[in-house]
């Protein structure tokens, strides 16, 4: 009973069906992003038509109920809180990675990495709540409160990815540095960090994406006043917070304007992903 031609062809047919099923599922997964963009654009169109791009930059401020739709205060708020969080989290994150990789004894490093991983999984709403009850009494609902909480939230992203890229540096580099008699810090600064640079930069870019898209924590601690931030203690509102606060009662033009801000967020994120991929591709060529 060797396999007859009929058997072989039915075998082929089953495999072909399998392949097409898998292709179909992959197509569904791949199309989600397209659907998101399409629906953001569709919902944004009414506002882009009736309000127009310029008024998002030039209106008096954001008073959607009085037909004023200037998004710049929220854009500034998002950028300020993201910038602050990145400035704070980058050295701490890289320091964490160095600690795990070069300074801590093995068991401590494993324990510490575990904690950072758990920190990465804590929900933003818990960070926001904790920030609200513990930190806000100290620093008020402000840009600063947002920066502190957000820095804590993106630190694990930087720490874990930076450690991965440090671990990917060839062992020979380390041995070479040791053979040259470099001290530990000289080896890190002159050899390891430059070698892992593209991975570390990518981790920071991903962290920027997380920070700018974060909603719950900033809604809860930043105070949500629509204004250009003029000090660290000024309450601010970010683009994401604005959507979360106003979607539930937004009328037609207003709702559509909120989708425009969603589209803007999406655009920023796609840009960041593109930059990150470009960097890792460049480093592959190097």
């Amino acid at each position: 009973m060797t396999s007859s031609p009929r058997n072989i062809s039915s075998l082929h047919r089953a495999d072909a069906a399998l392949l097409w099923t898998l292709r179909g599922l992959a197509a569904v997964a791949g199309i989600v992003v397209v659907l998101i963009v399409v629906f953001l654009v569709l919902e944004s169109l009414p506002a882009l038509r009736s309000i127009g791009l310029l008024r998002f930059l030039r209106d008096q401020s954001w008073y959607p109920l009085s037909d004023q739709f200037n998004m710049m205060p929220m854009v500034a708020g998002s950028l300020a809180v993201t910038l602050g969080a990145i400035v704070l989290a980058t050295p701490l994150g890289i320091g964490s990675a160095l600690f795990c990789r070069y300074y801590a004894p093995r068991p401590i490093a494993d324990f510490y990495r575990g904690i950072v991983q758990v920190l990465a999984g804590i929900p933003s709403v818990v960070f926001g709540f904790w920030g609200l009850v513990v930190w806000v009494p100290l620093v008020t609902q402000s840009l600063l409160a947002g920066i502190l909480i957000l820095a804590l939230m993106i630190l694990p992203t930087i720490a874990l990815l930076a450690e991965t890229s440090l671990a990917a540096v060839p062992v020979l580099y380390e041995r070479g540095a040791a053979a040259l008699g470099l001290t530990r810090w000289a080896m890190i600064r002159r050899v390891m960090l430059p070698a892992a640079r593209s991975g570390i930069v990518t981790s920071i870019i991903l962290a920027i994406g997380r920070a700018i898209g974060e909603t719950m924590a900033v809604v809860m601690v930043c105070g949500n006043v629509v204004q250009l931030p003029d000090s660290l203690f000024a309450p601010i509102r970010t683009l994401t917070a604005n959507i979360a606060l106003e979607m539930s009662y937004a009328g037609e033009a207003h709702r559509s304007a909120l989708f425009v801000s969603g589209l803007l967020l999406m655009f920023i994120v796609v840009l960041l992903v593109a930059v990150a991929q470009w960097i890792s591709k460049e480093s592959d060529h190097a």
Binding site: G30, F129, L152
Partner: protein, 288 residues
């Protein structure tokens, strides 16, 4: 003499930097310990069996979170019921049936990379426009679960794909040498070997989904009654914490209890995933 002072300076710099690095680690551990102790101190008291099982009263200031836990479970179940088949199929396709040169495979991968970076509030907007309004599902557990599925897909796919890539090629060659069809190779060889990774990916995605808030506010909504069907609005645990701390004066105690429960669940999920990963590693090193 000069040499000696230079060495001295180097040594001083080394020890200062070592101190800074240890200080960073200590600060982060302290903050984490602070967060955890704070949740335990304030949350453990109100977190009783009756809190977990009873209905909320007085906007959540009193009573429990029974219906909220049911809604959360239903949202998660919906999410995973969609994520697992689509995600598994996509991951198998990407790992086993495409290579770097296939334009379709590359397009899917690129699109998943972007999807993984989309902010949760944008998922919320999309879910509201697409599931709630366009498909007419309204504020419902179904809308929320489907929105979460879009979010969980790239995480699940990435983890599963790595599992398939970790299977040594000898397994596939062995299966091919035995004359197994692709289907048989998949179900008899690849799926059983990657089962632990599949479970870890599942647990990881559940963890991500249960932590989510922003994508659920305008898809599954705020209603804190016991849901009667998937078409009812249902409040997730994370949304409950948000609502209690932002909109309900005097809701902090119960928000603490809910936050502690949520973090406890996530720690458990994290432990399970790590344990599975470790067990798998042991299995691989044992067979290698």
């Amino acid at each position: 003499m000069l040499e000696a002072t230079r060495n001295e300076r180097h040594r001083l710099r080394e020890s200062i930097i070592t101190m800074i690095i240890w200080l960073i680690a200590i600060i982060i551990i302290t903050i984490f310990g602070w967060l955890l102790t704070d949740l335990l101190v304030h949350g453990l008291g109100p977190l009783t069996w009756s809190y977990i099982t009873t209905e909320p009263a007085d906007a959540g200031r009193a009573g429990g979170i029974g219906p909220i836990l049911v809604s959360t479970l239903l949202i998660l179940a919906t999410c995973m019921a969609v994520t697992v088949p689509i995600g598994l199929g996509t991951a198998i396709f990407l790992a086993e049936y495409t290579n770097e040169r296939s334009p379709f495979g590359r397009a899917v991968r690129r699109s998943l990379d972007v999807l993984a970076a989309v902010p949760s509030i944008v998922f919320g907007l999309f879910g509201s426009a697409f599931f709630c309004f366009h498909l007419g599902m309204g504020f419902s557990i179904l809308s929320g679960g489907l929105t979460l599925a879009c979010m969980a897909l790239p995480i699940f796919i990435r983890a599963v794909e790595q599992g398939f890539r970790a299977v040594p090629d000898e397994y596939r060659m062995g299966a091919a040498a035995l004359g197994l069809s692709r289907w048989a190779t998949l179900t008899k060889v690849l799926l059983p070997t990657t089962m632990p990774t599949l479970m870890a990916a599942f647990v990881l995605s559940v963890g991500r989904a249960v932590a989510e808030t922003a994508a659920l506010i305008f898809t599954s909504g705020y209603v804190d009654r016991m849901p009667q069907s998937l078409m009812d609005s249902g409040r997730a645990l994370s949304v409950h914490i948000f609502d209690l701390s932002m909109n309900v004066p005097g809701g902090d105690d119960n928000a603490y209890a809910s936050a502690l429960l949520l973090v406890g669940l996530l720690l458990l999920i994290n432990l399970i995933a790590t344990w599975i990963a470790k067990a798998t590693q042991r299995q691989w090193t044992a067979t290698a």
